[in-house]
Amino acid sequence: MNETGRRITRRLILGGAQIAAVVLLVFAATEALPGDAAVALAGDQPDPARIEAVRTALRLDRPAHERLLDWTAGLLHGDLGVSLTSGRPVAAALADGFGPTLLLAVPTVLLLVPAGIGLGVLAARREGGAVDRAVSAVLIGLYAVPEFALGALLVALFALRLGWFPPTAVGYGTELAAHPEALVLPVLVLLARPVCSLARLVRAGMLDALASPYAAHARRCGISRSRVRYAHALPNALAPAAQQLARTVDWLLCGVIVVEALFVIPGLGTLLMNAVAERDLPTVQGLAVVFGLVTVLLNLAADLTTHRLAPRTAVAA
């Protein structure tokens, strides 16, 4: 096995441990929430006898470690258990929620990368000029707007006033992919803040690189300015950007919760909100596994990319 292969293996083993830690933490955190599924289900009719009966029916009367062991044993067989509230398999709920979330995340990332890099490079090329200042001002301003406010604004303008896009994806649940127009506004909201942070990062990275001795040396050797800019400075600016991108995807999950609620897109964010409110532990745990897996794989990919772009940058696991 070559060096890269060994590193990947090491990272994957570490990632597995990280996921296990996340799952344990999430289990403990959910256990620490006041009340359990029986209490949450009882709602405004907290008849103690009924709560007790639900607790027995859901087998919540067993000690926490037993329930965790059962769940873990199931997980090792690829079984995520059944939802406490609906009695349906957690895996099915995750699969249902994954589609809509992916429909939001993929276009967001596909647009994020060119838009973020493009704006960053544009601002860096005109450092200190009117374009740089205008771009920076807009990006910082946009970054300050919370998703919820931006979403409400976009809906009021582009959906209700101009009628260009539908205001929500309500009713498209199972055939969301067939209504791409319903995804435009949600993706714009999701895009808004990551574009800002990514562009700022690329701009700063490029300015650093252009000011570095090796760029100066390259220029002294007579290499053209644009070649220095794109072949030498840009890859160095992109290394931190790749890391940032991986973190952004985690961060997108938070934004996704707001966006899904606002636009009625029944994805993983909605699933998570409901599962926590219902103390539906198996579903929360299933989501923790999925999110953990996504995070580990993305960070691994980001590290590998960084290594390729700037091999001299040491990559900490």
């Binding site: 929430l33 006041p34 009340g35 209490v39 949450a40 289900l41 009882a42 709602g43 405004d44 009719q45 907290p46 008849d47 103690p48 006898a49 009924r50 709560i51 009966a53 639900v54 029916a57 939802s83 509230t85 609906s86 009695g87 349906r88 709920a93 249902d96 929620g97 409400a152 809906v155 959906a159 209700l160 539908p166 205001p167 929500t168 309500v170 009713g171 649940g173 199972t174 609620a261 606002l262 636009f263 009625v264 029944p266 909605t270 699933l271 909100m273 409901n274 599962a275 409110a277 219902e278 103390r279 539906d280 579903t283």
Partner: protein, 544 residues
């Protein structure tokens, strides 16, 4: 998750409870009202020609029903945990879907009195402990008739101690082992004690009739009910598509199709309605209603005086074990201000009694007014001149945290120091059941009798005020063994006078329940508290 149809929703920030009927119109009166307004609207359209933006109440109810079309209705929902099992209903969305697919033996009229549905008639014996219920000629979606065996099967499933269905507590008066089918269309219910209000049991939330042949796994993909619509498709937390049941015993619906969609955020429901993505949006905010009431794009429907808003005092512990302190609190509240600021004006003031507008409501009692001086005197007498209280609240229901803040300021004027404590919304109702002394409380529509029996008897399971008085229990039993409605009303009036004088609930207001519909939606009943027969009754709605 949210949801109580009866009192509060489980997940309530937006899912909520239910309302009451404002007008107190009897069935007969209401028919009179509708007829009159129909004539008026005909005259109007005669001269005005095309429908102008006239949002008058009468208009929405009139015209000749037109057959056809699909109506999409947005409700707050239960996410991936949703099911079509009518006995698991918890949310308004569940209740509305169950109503479309299934029937109950009885349902509540606008005044929360029981009206016959699958039961064509009911007759008690002299002791009020045996009730003979005759079923009407109705059939399930699979063509089989609804029989007495199906009724008993449904009730036994609900009452199964291993299942913990919500309606189980409501069916508790029935001795199901002794009850039997005397023939295919007659059930003889044997009760554990005299129950004059037994029809309320048959109308209880979640007491739907399913066929005896229903299989446990079939509810979500092949539910068989006797309701006005049949299932086409169902995706939990997304959409439920139904089609007209042409063989419905109460007349086939006007709509071809009915689709329930789930949108938990109020803003999403409003946007979907404004954007033409749905024709009916349940549970809107007062501010939304005001913004769109006169805009002409949508019709806003206010079900007046709907959800009871109150503060509940625990009467078994200091300082509220002294009735003078409870009376002082009654006098401290500035009700009009609470309604203005907490409900944004979308509601009416309360008189420390549940059930304004419902059958047996004691509406002859004088309206309570703020009287700070008398409150101070009462507190001094009680030796509580420097009263300090903790008020529990939570974002579990609309207006709760605001109500707590407003009341804190009002109480300060009488020298009472209130500390507001904000609790977890997912466990609030359980948390306030036994702990604390003072809390925000609310309830949707239910008969006054149910409110009494569920919350104010010594053995009530959700007695959040710990109001336990043997003589009060005795009055309740007396009412339940009184056949004559007038004499029963007298007993209820006595109980309510006591509650108003020194009771545990400071009922300061009744919130409007607000719906929005597209301009072409007709036939939406305006005098129907949530959870009553005519609320969310899509078989009577049509698209103009």
């Amino acid at each position: 998750m949210h949801h109580d149809p009866h009192s509060h929703p489980l997940r309530p920030v937006h899912r909520g409870p239910a309302p009451a009927d404002p007008g107190r119109l009897s069935g007969l009166h209401r028919r009179g009202f509708l007829t009159a307004s129909a004539a008026g609207a005909l005259a109007l359209s005669g001269c005005a020609g095309a429908a102008g933006p006239d949002p008058s109440d009468a208009k929405a109810e009139t015209g000749t029903p037109r057959r056809g079309g699909r109506l999409r209705a947005a409700f707050a929902g239960g996410g991936a945990g949703e099911t079509l099992d009518p006995h698991l209903s918890n949310l308004f969305a569940d209740a509305a879907r169950a109503k479309a697919l299934y029937d109950k033996l009885a349902d509540y009229g606008a005044d929360l009195s029981a009206r016959p549905r699958l039961a064509a008639s009911w007759e008690p014996d002299a002791t009020l402990k045996r009730w003979k219920v005759s079923l009407r000629d109705a059939e399930f979606h699979d063509g089989k008739p609804v029989t007495a065996a199906d009724v008993l099967h449904s009730y036994r499933r609900i009452a199964d101690p291993k299942r913990a269905f919500r309606a189980r507590a409501s069916l508790e008066p029935i001795d199901l082992a002794a009850s039997r089918a005397t023939d295919d269309r007659t059930v003889e219910f044997v009760l554990k004690r005299p129950t004059a209000e037994f029809p309320n049991v048959m109308a209880a939330f979640g007491a739907s009739i399913i066929p005896a042949s229903a299989r446990e796994g079939d509810f979500d993909h092949a539910p068989v009910g006797s309701g006005p619509f049949r299932l086409v498709s169902f995706a939990p937390g997304r959409s439920t598509l139904l089609r007209r049941n042409d063989a419905y015993w109460d007349g086939a619906p006007h709509l071809d199709e009915l689709e329930f969609v789930v949108a938990d955020e109020e803003s999403a429901r409003v946007n979907a309605l404004l954007g033409g993505q749905v024709e009916y949006a349940h549970e809107l905010n007062p501010t939304t209603a005001r913004a769109h009431e006169h805009g002409g794009h949508v019709t806003i429907i206010r079900l007046r005086d709907s959800a009871m808003q109150s503060f509940a005092m625990k009467t078994d512990r200091p300082p509220f074990d002294d009735p003078r302190v409870r009376r002082a609190l009654f006098l401290v509240a500035d009700r009009p201000e609470l309604v203005r600021s907490v409900l944004s004006g979308a509601g009416g003031i309360g008189n420390d009694l549940f059930g304004k507008g419902y059958e047996y409501y004691a509406d002859g009692l004088p309206q309570r007014e703020q009287d700070i001086d008398r409150a101070r005197r009462l507190l001094k007498e009680a030796g509580a001149g420097d009263l300090r209280l903790t008020l529990d609240t939570s974002p579990v229901a609309t207006g709760f945290t605001e109500a707590a803040a407003v009341f804190r300021d009002q109480a300060a004027r009488a020298g009472i120091t209130i500390r507001v404590r904000t609790g977890n919304k997912d466990t609030y109702w359980k948390d306030i059941l036994d702990s604390g002394t003072l809390c925000c409380y609310r309830s949707g529509a239910m008969p006054i009798e149910s409110h009494l029996s569920q919350r104010l008897l010594t053995d009530s399971t959700t007695n959040a005020t710990h109001w336990r008085h043997r003589d009060f229990d005795a009055l309740y039993r007396q009412a339940q063994s009184t056949r004559d409605p007038q004499r029963r009303a007298d007993v209820y009036a006595r109980m309510q006078r006591r509650l108003r004088t020194e009771g545990p609930f400071l009922v300061w207001g009744f919130a409007d329940w607000i719906l929005g519909t597209a301009r072409n939606v007709r036939g939406v009943e305006r005098h129907a508290p949530a959870n009553t027969l005519d609320w969310a009754r899509f078989d009577k709605v049509w698209l103009a």
